[in-house]
């Protein structure tokens, strides 16, 4: 058990910067997920912690020891790899005991520890099997047993569930959480699957293009993303973004307005370009809510439904903002389009004209140029602006 500190860690490969000035402080016993799209530097960050790659600049501490220049074997870390990486020429027992045998433990001690580890990951009675006789989930459990058997200070997991099928992945996810509770060890977990990150971690570190975007508990990342990238990356399906201009009494987009008092946000001035972000579950069908004129909601927005994606527990509805828009497929990205999630019993069809409202308390504003978050929720900023907003609702309907 130990805390892990990365201090201005930078890793350059010739002219590519894989990790840029990374500062991370991971507490003892914490479960931290590094998430980000492919090539964002999360695996490289992990490798620098493991010692498989040496950082170009910066220092890494595990506990109180500066491990920046130490080889992997002296760092007290254990790692579970995406490709599992069991040694094919050794059976399960030999795989699990590999690290212990290298450290010349007594035979009895090794046996005791291997049994214990096999017990934790429920591999009893499989110790004499060859890795290729095991299923994917069993192989992954052997890899985890190999990691825990040495009582490492820090666990590094590099997309350990990526190669498993969907059902097994969900199962292993709970197993890992149980394991974390049992062992109470620092776990650093790399994944590109934000669902894994949301469900398992104490804190999520969102990386993009080699730079740390935000490190916060999952719900903070979800509700108060520091910038547009985090907002778009965390949450599935991802947040809707609509470009707009700041006007006297709110934000004006091509198709609708959101009323609030821009003066409530110090960094905002009339005329500024902003991106308005709203999650699919914060878009409501007017027909479905009791009081569509409630003060925290926006004016009604005229839209046409496009494609429906019934998921069973909810339906994702693609909404076209533009009147004459043919189909959302022609547009690259989300311009002129909103994604809404509704309950599965909603009676809705494609190509239907409907009215929707947005929950103003869930609207995020981002600076279009820098992507920095300006405000999370604009309902409280309404002030005087609420009166004209309500008036416009009437005029629209």
């Amino acid at each position: 058990m130990a805390r892990v500190t990365l201090d201005h860690v930078t890793k350059r490969y010739e002219d590519v910067v894989a990790v840029n000035d990374m500062n991370l402080d991971i507490k003892d016993g914490e479960f931290v997920c590094l998430v980000g799209p492919s090539g964002c530097g999360k695996s490289t960050t992990m490798e620098t912690i493991a010692g498989l790659t040496k950082p170009t600049e910066g220092t890494i501490h595990i506990g109180d020891t500066d491990v920046t220049r130490l080889p992997p074997k002296d760092r007290g870390v254990a790692m579970v790899f995406q490709n599992i990486a069991l040694f094919p020429h050794m059976d399960v027992y030999e795989n699990i005991s590999f690290g212990l045998r290298l450290r010349n433990y007594d035979k009895e001690e090794i046996d005791r520890r291997v049994d214990e580890a096999a017990d934790v990951v429920q591999l009893e009675g499989m110790l004499d099997r060859e890795p290729n006789e095991l299923s994917g989930g069993q192989q992954q459990r052997v890899a985890i047993a190999r990691a825990i058997v040495r009582n490492p200070d820090v666990f590094l997991m590099d997309e350990p569930l990526a190669n498993l099928d969907a059902k097994l992945r969900v199962h292993m996810r709970t197993e890992l959480q149980r394991l974390h509770k049992e062992l109470d060890t620092t776990i650093i977990y790399v994944t590109h699957d934000q669902a894994e990150a949301m469900t398992m971690s104490d804190r999520i570190a969102v990386l993009n293009a080699g730079e740390l975007q935000q490190i916060d508990p999952p719900l903070v990342c979800y509700n108060e993303p520091t910038n547009r990238f985090v907002a778009g990356f965390i949450g599935s399906p991802s947040m809707n973004f609509v470009e707009g201009n700041v006007v006297e009494n709110g934000v004006e987009t091509d198709n609708f307005e959101v009323g609030f008092d821009p003066a409530g946000i110090p960094s905002l001035a009339v005329g500024d370009q902003v991106s308005l972000g709203i999650r699919p579950e914060d878009v409501y069908l007017v027909d479905q809510i009791e009081d569509p004129d409630a003060p925290h909601l926006t004016d009604r927005i005229d839209v046409r439904t496009d494609v429906l994606e019934p998921m069973g527990d909810e339906i994702f509805v693609y909404l076209l903002l533009e009147e004459d828009q043919e189909t959302s497929m022609e547009d690259q990205g989300m311009a002129g389009q909103l994604l809404m999630s509704v309950t599965p019993d909603t009676e809705i069809e494609g190509d239907e004209d409907v009215d929707v409202v947005l929950d103003r308390s869930k609207i995020h504003l981002f600076d279009t140029a820098t992507g920095e978050a300006l405000a999370h929720g604009v309902a409280d900023l309404t002030g005087i602006g609420s009166e004209p907003a309500a008036g416009e609702v009437e005029s629209d309907s």
Binding site: G51, K73, M79, H89, G99, R146
Partner: protein, 330 residues
């Protein structure tokens, strides 16, 4: 015109060839029979071409020397000339060791081959690891350099090496200043093992580079996190998983050195076992100025081949077991 019509008629009626072809195409059993026949034909061809020389050697070894040149080689009934024993003289296999200390020659070759193989494997393993698993500037150029050197004719190195191994003092050209005298290596294993190692290294490096490059990076990383150094990961994980490649490189090197005569005949100044003359030197020493014991040379050849045969049989088992066990799945 007439012939074409005839042929056309034949095919339409279904001549013997066509009906047979049709049978092979349509009938599974017939097809299998054809495949089996082709397999055994090919097999037989290779068996005859590889084993016939051994048969010939055996015939020569068993035939008393005086009848090898004078004997009647035509077969009893058919009359065609074909090697067959002209008498039965198994004592030749004992005489081989009495006339010349042949076992010493075999021992020399065995020691030279084993030592060279070990040296080559150690260096080629390290080189193969570097070339196969590490990225560094100039890797391509270095590999190319090794390839180029491996294409040099060995004879090109002979005279400078012989001069160096004689122990003549090194003199600065034109000035005549003596720098130092290198040790005199001729007639010692060093004068043979060094050139052999250098000559057979490139091939071993190429074999091991390809094998080591195929081992998934994750396995090496896993070993290093678990507690090995890079070298430890090489020995404990990469090498065991590349056993077939190592066996191939080892067998090729061993056999090449075991059969080598060009360098050793020159580096061993006289053809006797004390000067580390090898196996082939031993075989040639049954030839004197006036007599040539063909039967003993044949018997010695057979005796000399045996260790290699045993080695290949053992190594082949290793190769096969290595291939089946090392099913690498990442």
């Amino acid at each position: 015109m007439a012939t074409t019509t005839e042929r056309d008629d034949d095919t339409s009626e279904g001549g013997p060839l066509e009906s047979w072809t049709n049978g092979v195409l349509k009938d599974e059993a017939k097809r299998q029979r054809l495949y089996r026949a082709l397999f055994w034909t090919a097999c037989g061809f290779f068996l005859v071409t590889t084993l016939f020389p051994f048969y010939w050697l055996l015939v020569l070894a068993l035939t008393p020397n005086n009848r090898i040149l004078t004997g009647d080689w035509s077969l009893p009934v058919i009359g065609v000339e074909f090697p067959h024993p002209q008498g039965f003289n198994p004592v030749a296999f004992v005489e081989v060791f009495q006339v010349v200390p042949f076992h010493y020659f075999v021992f020399n070759s065995f020691v030279l081959a084993t030592t060279t193989t070990i040296i080559v494997l150690v260096i080629a393993t390290l080189a193969g690891y570097v070339f196969g698993r590490l990225e560094f500037p100039g890797r391509g150029a270095l590999m190319l350099g090794i390839l180029v050197i491996s294409y040099f004719p060995p004879a090109a190195f002979l005279i400078p090496l012989f001069d160096a191994f004689l122990g003549n003092p090194v003199v600065v050209p034109f000035l005549g200043i003596e720098l130092f005298s290198p040790p005199r290596l001729v007639n010692t294993p060093g004068s043979m093992i060094m050139p052999f190692s250098a000559l057979f290294l490139p091939l071993a490096i190429f074999i091991l580079t390809t094998f080591y490059a195929q081992i998934p990076d994750g396995l090496e990383d896993a070993a290093r996190v678990e507690g090995t150094t890079r070298l430890g990961a090489l020995v404990r994980v990469i090498m065991p998983l590349s056993a077939p490649g190592i066996a191939t490189a080892a067998v090729l090197t061993f056999i090449s050195v075991y059969n080598e005569y060009f360098f050793s005949s020159i580096m061993a100044l006289e053809n006797n076992p004390e000067n580390w003359s090898p196996l082939v030197g031993g075989i040639l020493s049954y030839q004197t100025q006036y007599t040539t014991d063909f039967n003993l040379m044949a018997a010695a050849s057979i005796v000399g081949v045996l260790p290699v045969v045993i080695l290949v049989i053992i190594a082949q088992e290793r190769i096969v077991s290595g291939l089946t066990a090392g099913a690498l799945k990442e």
